[in-house]
Symmetry: C2
Subunit: 159 residues, 2 copies
């Protein structure tokens, strides 16, 4: 039996509300450039994992060490996915449909890499968060890493 | 400038054909349990990455060390995503919509873990593949790891 059954079953609704909000904003991946689709899949799991941590921080989901650790580990791993096969040059906003990736991602790869490192660091700090307050204490850096990247490297919503 | 620009631009079409075939078979994630959606996003990036390696192996995409290494590294990382927040008990086929995850995933977690380890091993072996033939030589183990898991832990297509 899965160790995490009880808490995750009980807490499913909180995750559902948060993750649905994230997913509802995405486009269907069927019409996208496959590299664009792949990185949007990456971001969807990022959003799902942050949703778990955010719900725990807000008290909407009961603290569960395994779930928190799992979400933080996955964020850390997703932040470190190799970008060469995902952020392919020529797949910026305006050049291909459905992406908000700004051209600066490719003109400033070191700056872009730093943003993913910030996400990796902020999520690593949450892997061993020992209660909901500790998760909450780490959410500022985590949210800041999202915002820091989106402000600089994400363009406006597509029409 | 991105180091991989030239090759990936030239090879985009091959990736597109393969990845589209994979994505076209997926359901919209908007109606899914969020954990189910998250692991389907995981599988979409797995499929995208395998598509790159398969295209190189078949000669449909020019060998490019950075692309091959990137796809293999990402497969390796995706195979090791922590399962506690993704494979949540109660989200098997029949219990929630749109998933083909068999109940055996939860009744036989060690066996299920071995399948992901097989994917991690097969992809690790491709990270340094030095030419298309080397990629091809590793595709058997890679495809076998997919098949081994799907045969045992994936149920029939949903209606």
């Amino acid at each position: 039996m899965n160790l995490f059954m009880k808490s995750t079953m009980a807490l499913g609704l909180g995750v559902a509300v948060i993750a649905t909000a994230s997913i509802a904003g995405s486009h269907s991946s069927e019409k996208l450039n496959p590299a664009v689709a792949a990185r949007q899949h990456q971001m969807q799991i990022v959003g799902y994992s942050i949703g778990i941590l955010g719900a725990v921080a807000k008290g909407e989901m009961e603290y569960d060490a395994a779930m928190v650790s799992s979400a933080a580990k996955n964020l850390n791993a997703l932040a470190q996915l190799d970008r060469a096969s995902l952020w392919i040059e020529g797949t910026e906003q305006g050049a291909t449909a459905g992406t908000r990736a700004k051209a600066e991602i490719w003109s400033d790869p070191d700056g872009f890499a730093e943003k993913f490192e910030a996400l990796a660091d902020a999520s690593a700090a949450l892997i061993d968060a020992s209660d909901a307050a500790a998760v909450g204490a780490g959410m500022g850096d985590l949210g800041g890493s999202c915002k820091g990247c989106h402000e600089k490297y994400r363009g406006p919503k597509n029409e």
